[in-house]
Symmetry: C2
Subunit: 394 residues, 2 copies
């Protein structure tokens, strides 16, 4: 098994007292040399202070560190929020002896609560002292909110006989569509990647992974994905083959983390790979997949292990896309549930019910109109989701 | 109190055995003379058979009766579904001795289950025998699905010294946005209203009432609102004043039924009057109100009696509408919770928490950008909602 680390990067997490329960809540990822940086941020019109700060700082294309806290989103705090984000990065920069503007910040937690500046300032020196090349999991723990498990992964590949790695941590845990909760992902690689290539690779991987569980433009105030590349492996990603390899590894890693997020979604008991195919266009397929995967009625039926395909039809029908009700074929895994828009009967229903008893299964809706397809990773909607979110601030 | 009836109309409900629990499940509303008819139907692309049938039949502008069942949506049943809808109306037409094409149909319940033709055919003569001018509440009961209470209302007004009435029944009970469950409403009046006026008045009232809890274009496969006017009161609605009076009574009645629906929404513990104002346009305000009122995070916070305004901000920010985060003022009832985009502090929070402990309250978000406003009637998202919908078919 490839160890969860990558050359020239150290990470760590400490309990700064922001979370009421005393868990790790302040994390740091540091490159021992200047690294190129690519990032993708939320499209929400209301931006948390650290997101505003990062959007400016990543324009240089260089970063040395990311400092992140859980327990407070540092959003809707006005000018004091921006001052707090700047102070958090300045404290880390000072302790690391790097330029302020090469430190990025991320926060996740309650919106609109005053930011605990003093707790963070007091904890930063301890956090820097705790940095370790094996500290990735502590960083993953420090950014958890309602997540029940830390999420991390590593991929290793070889270019011209020389290995490089990509390591990433993430947190999610909202009901997936994760616009419902902050999604953070920090990735680092010891490969040497040109800045344009780094940004393009990250954008593509995010579209394939986190944007299959989230919706473009529909994100929380704090969502942030950051990828740093420090070249410490001396592996240059500069040929078509090497770029393809890097893309493949990054895709695979971020899809892995996206699936970890859904599996650990708040109250999730079912992970569902939804595919809509046979649409007139990919965009049509996407709109239907979006509507189905966010329908509370569909999601509660998944929770109830109920092959209630009528709800899937009803959601498809209200997606605002032309379809022919008499051509709809629906499958749970490989069990055909409807043919030409009507049910396949009791035997199919019994088989489908067995499919839904599994913790993970697929749902495929074929419109039989064209070649458009779209995939989404979604989940059920359970009693625990409501419990978790009704009690979140208390 | 005005009695729940109106001249020249009889109604009733019987237990045809469609619902497993033996409750009333087949209802009928009949005019003793030809009535003008107006209707509004779902915009879902997948239409239940009775909706398809009604859309044709209302083109004549005349109807004598509506027959409706609960327990089976008669949707996605192919040509057998259409045959069943036709048979249901034919049975009623035969027993009533009126033309088939003047009987409308409505169904609500599970999608894709074979329609219980024989049960309906056997029950129709009993149902016709049970018709009574005081039978409106039985009709209201017969169309209930997960509704816990029948929903009905009456308004009486006077034109030139002569009284007329409008009576209506409805069922809803899905989590409101009622695209999540079928919304049916049957109304009748003994006023004499021209067909064009009748349709215009109904459209306007539906926009003010059911479309404040639903979303245009986003409805179930079966949603149906029917209004019959038989003129039995001899009150003509033919002056500006009389038309205004009729509109006002109809608006008031349907808004009353819409509020009854939200109060009886599945698992609802909080009814929330949401207003978005100060937007650049009414459309902007509407998009933000729509996003807030359907956010699971906002709705679970209402259930938790948690004045978690950050979630309301986050939802507003992802509505795809330009806004200035530093101008947002938020109120729970008359308690100002944020000013200029930041929180008003602990005292406001304590007062707001008291507001949220009430069963009904208002939430007002002021963007301070313009004159656009929109209102929605919404509700919380509770443990019982999930329980009800996870168990619906079992």
């Amino acid at each position: 098994m490839v160890p969860l680390k990558c050359k020239g990067f150290r990470a760590g997490g400490v309990a700064a007292g922001i979370k009421k329960n005393g868990d790790l809540d302040l994390g740091l990822l540091v490159s021992d040399r200047p690294a190129r940086v690519a990032a993708v941020f939320t499209k929400n019109r209301i931006l948390a202070a650290p997101v505003k700060l990062n959007r400016e700082r990543v324009k240089t294309g260089m970063a040395r560190a990311v400092i992140a806290n859980a327990g407070n989103a540092n959003c809707a705090n006005g000018s004091e929020g921006m001052a707090a984000a700047i102070a958090m990065t300045a404290a880390a920069a000072h302790a690391l002896n790097v330029p302020d503007e090469q430190v990025l910040a991320a926060s996740t937690g309650v919106i609109g609560a005053p930011f605990p500046n003093q707790k963070v300032a007091a904890a930063v020196p301890v956090l820097v002292g705790a940095l370790d090349e094996d500290g990735i999991l502590d960083l993953a723990r420090a950014i958890m909110t309602t997540d029940t498990r830390p999420k991390a992964g590593v991929r290793e590949a070889v270019v011209n006989g020389a290995p490089y790695r990509i390591v990433a941590v993430a947190k999610g845990a909202g009901m997936i569509r994760p616009d419902m909760a902050t999604m953070l992902c920090f990735a680092c690689t010891d490969a040497d990647v040109a800045l344009d290539d780094l940004q393009a690779a990250l954008k593509r991987s995010v579209d394939l992974s986190f944007n299959r569980i989230t919706i473009d433009g529909d994100t929380s105030t704090n969502d942030t994905v950051i990828l740093m590349a420090n070249g410490a492996s001396d592996v240059k990603i500069d040929t078509i083959e090497a770029k393809a390899s890097f893309q493949q590894q990054l895709d695979d890693l971020l899809m892995d983390l996206a699936r970890q997020m859904v599996r650990d979604g708040e109250g999730v008991t079912k992970v569902v790979d939804l595919t809509v195919r046979g649409a007139r266009s990919n965009d049509d397929a996407w709109r239907i997949a979006d509507t189905i995967s966010h329908s509370p009625l569909v999601k509660t039926a998944f929770f109830g292990q109920d092959a209630n395909w009528g709800r899937i039809f009803a959601a498809a029908g209200r997606a605002g896309v032309e379809l022919d009700p008499d051509r709809l074929d629906l499958y749970f895994d490989d069990v055909q549930m409807t043919k030409g828009g009507t049910g396949c009967g009791d035997e199919a229903e019994a088989k489908a019910t067995a499919v839904l008893k599994q913790p993970e299964f697929s749902v495929t809706l074929d419109l039989n109109l064209g070649e458009g397809t779209a995939g989404m990773l979604t989940c059920d909607f359970s009693l625990d989701y409501v419990k978790i979110n009704a009690d979140y601030r208390s």
